[in-house]
Each structure stands twice: as C-alpha cells, then as structure tokens.
C-alpha cells in the first residue's frame, strides 16, 4: 500500500508495508543516510529524527503511523547546514567518529526549540537517550549552551 510521507518539506510516496520502521524508509528507500542505525531497539538515539518538531527514534517508529506529520532528518534540519546547533557543533568541534552525531544534533535542536536556555541538568535529561561511544558529552553540552546563546530562531519545524 503506498504511503505518503512528508520528509524535509517534500511529500514522498513509498510502497512499503506500513509497519516498516521509518529509519529504513529514510536510509534504504529515500537514500537519506545521515540518520544512523545503532541498536534497532530505541535505546541509543543514533536514529533520532524530528516528527512535528519532537525527537523520535526512527528505528521504532512505523512509517505508516506518520501520515500528515512533518518528518525532519539531519539533511533537512537547515537548507545550508547552518542551523544554530550545527554552527555551534562546528565551532566547538564536537564530533569524533561522528556516527551518533546526527541523532545528537536532532535531539539538541528539539530541546532548544522548547527550552531556549537549558541548564546543564536540562541538557543531561534531554540528551540522556543519545549515547556516544567516543564520549563527546562535555562538548555536546558546551555546544548546546553556545547554540542557546547565538540562536533566536527555534529548531526547524520540518
């Protein structure tokens, strides 16, 4: 059955079983490989994308449940890669291997959209579901504070 998905401001039609996880629609069908497969069980956060501005684990989200909702991936967070979170991430040089970072960035963008000036505790709570094997957590926290200082625009709503 064809599914209509609104991904990064574009309506995409895919012919897949509705219980296909969004992650695999993005990666295998729409060729949006910035969203990563980590655990496939919703516990690592590598696959985080925004659905109507809220962070969701795309490995655990059925594509068929997303009709009419705006899906935003790392590729669509900003037109030019200059979302305040991406800028802050670059300035602080957050990534090491980088595998978890698209998920981290999406989670951070969602946090700042509803809490423009988070405390360390707010950040730790909001980001605790996004694991980083390289241990970039201190720089993630630093970059979120920096993005909060420089950003007035909220995170992209899709």
């Amino acid at each position: 059955m064809p599914l209509k998905l609104n991904v990064n401001h574009e309506v995409r039609t895919v012919d897949l079983p509705p219980d296909t996880p969004l992650l695999w629609v993005l990666r295998d069908v729409l060729d949006l490989k910035g969203t990563k497969y980590g655990c496939g069980m919703g516990v690592c956060g590598a696959c985080t994308v925004l659905v109507d501005g809220k962070p969701v684990r795309s490995c655990m989200t059925h594509a068929g449940s997303l009709a009419g909702q705006e899906i935003t991936t790392i590729e669509g967070l900003s037109a030019d890669g200059m979302h305040p979170v991406q800028q802050a991430w670059e300035e602080v040089d957050v990534p090491q291997c980088g595998y978890c970072q698209p998920g981290q960035i999406m989670a951070a963008a969602a946090l700042l959209a509803h809490n423009p000036h988070p405390t360390d505790a707010d950040i730790d709570t909001a980001m605790s579901g996004n694991l980083c094997r390289c241990g970039t957590y201190p720089r993630i926290r630093q970059a979120i504070h920096r993005a909060a200082e420089t950003a007035h625009a909220p995170a992209s709503k899709g």
Binding site: P21, G34, Y37, E75, P95, G98, Y99
Partner: protein, 293 residues
C-alpha cells in the same frame, strides 16, 4: 634527529588497557624496517601523499582509517607542517589501501602517532625539497639560497618568488630525495603541529553526509543478516529456505554449515559459525524475513 631513529629501531611490546578492562598485547612495528624489509619496496612514497595542482590547491592523503581518534586530521597535519603550507589551504583525502606506497595502514594500539611522526614529516619535507629544486632549476640559482613560506618559494637575492602551484608540474618530474636525508623544521617554528585543528570531516558529519561504511552501496548490492543457533555450538539441521525466499525482497537463503578456523594469522579466531543467512535487497527486508525462519 638521531635520537628519533634510535627510538624507531626499538620494537617493543606495549600493554594497552582496553575500554572494557581487558588487556591486550600490541607490537609496535618499526616503520623503517616495515618499509625496507627484505624484498619490500620502500614505503612512504612522498609523491603519493601530496597533490598540488597548477591553481595551488593542495590535497594531502590520510593514510590510516579514521575511527574517531582524529588521525584523518592529525596525519596530514604532519605533512602540511613540513611542506610549509597554510592548513586552511589543505584538502584531505582518504588514501586507498596500499602499504607499499603509504607504509603501515592499520589502526589500533595507539600507534599512529609514534609510527608516523617521523616519516610523514619527512614526506612533507621531501616534497618541499622537490619544489625548491624545481624553482632553483627554473631560476638558475642554488637550492640553498631558496626558502619557502606558506605555499611560496622565495629567492631573496634576486627578489623572485613563485607559488607551489606554479612549480608543481616541474617538481613532479623530479626524483624525490631520500627521506632520511631531508632537513626537518625546528619544533619551535611549528605553525600547525601542536595547535588544535578542527576535524576535517566535522562539517560532513553534522550535515549527515554519508561517510561511514554502513552508508556505502554498490549497484545491485544485497544486504544480509545471519540467524545463529540460539544454543552455543549448535548446528543447522534444516530451514524453511523455500518459504523464506518467497518473502518480499529476498534473493537467497543460505544454510551455513560452519567452518573451523582456517586463519593462518590468527588461528585462535573461530571460523564461520553455523547459521542461516538471508540475502535481500534492503537490510530491513532481510531482518524482517528472519522472523519467518
């Protein structure tokens, strides 16, 4: 610099504590013996690491696999320092696997810096020497009177200068000097090494550009998952391969008998464990079909 060679000649065992608390023994290969062992051509071929085109664009090869430790940025920094170019003018490219040209390319055991610190600086210095030789020949002046400054060659006496880009084609026709003969900078003059440089892949990472092995595809590439026996040491008696093959996107279902280790290098490693492999167009199709086994 003599001490560095004394250091290099000593191969030694190093205890490396791994993240999980395990302890591994890692052997530090001595780079020059690796490069010049019996029957092996010299590695660290200077011209393979550096490309300068006529417009002055500088491409440096990163020889080791990047695993988040920063070698893709750090190793080219060593070359750039001695090549005497501005780091902002450098583009980094991942080298292919060819240890006869690039020297040892394994990643592990915290060996990238000790193995490459000396030879890669010499690679940069050798190429710089070739550019100087090209300039000296063009101008008819002694090489010893020429100096370099951030991508330019200068001859102060005659007040002449040329960019690396202008001399690259000429330099590329010259024979690289013996790496051991080239003169290295005094560390006090470093402008790149010893300073924090942003990761060369940072921008690609934060915009989701596919750079990981899991993002790699080839035309017609299939994805496989393997269902192992739930009991240690178990083997496959039978599987409903015909039924599973009919599921969406499944191309083939293979029973793996399993093998004993045949690895001559690491005989303690087990061979292929028995199981059932499912090959499909996409990973999710293969993974979904697993439930129907």
């Amino acid at each position: 610099m003599g001490n560095e060679y004394d250091f290099d000649r000593r191969s030694f065992l190093k205890m490396t504590a791994l993240a999980g608390g395990a302890v591994a023994l890692g052997l530090y290969e001595e780079p020059w013996s690796f490069a010049q062992g019996p029957g092996k051509p010299p590695a660290f071929v200077a011209t393979a690491f550096i490309r300068i085109n006529s417009s002055g664009a500088i491409t440096l090869m990163a020889k080791n696999p990047e695993l988040g430790q920063g070698v893709k940025t750090m190793l080219p920094m060593l070359i750039a320092e001695e090549l005497d170019v501005d780091w902002k003018d450098v583009r980094v490219e991942q080298a292919g696997l060819d240890e006869e040209v690039f020297g040892p390319q394994a990643t592990g055991g915290s060996t990238a810096t000790p193995i490459n610190w000396d030879p890669l600086r010499r690679v940069g210095a050798a190429y710089r020497q070739m550019l100087i030789a090209g300039a000296a020949q063009t101008w008819g002046v002694p090489e010893s009177e020429c100096t370099t400054d951030r991508g330019k060659i200068l001859h102060a006496k005659s007040n002449r200068q040329a960019t690396y880009g202008e001399l690259a084609a000429r330099a590329a026709t010259l024979t690289p000097p013996d790496l051991k003969s080239v003169k290295l900078k005094d560390p006090r003059d470093y402008r790149i090494v010893g300073r924090s440089q942003r990761g060369v892949d940072t921008r690609a990472i934060l915009t989701g550009v596919p750079i990981f092995s899991t993002d790699f595809t080839l035309p017609g590439m299939l994805n496989a998952v393997i269902q192992r026996c739930p009991v240690f040491g178990g083997k496959v008696k039978s599987a409903n391969t015909d039924e599973v093959t009919k599921l969406p996107g499944i191309r083939k279902v293979v029973i793996i008998e399993g093998t004993l280790s045949t690895d001559p290098v690491a005989p303690w490693e087990p061979g292929m464990e028995p199981g059932v492999a499912i090959l499909a167009d996409t990973w999710w199709q293969a993974q979904s079909a697993r439930k129907s086994l």
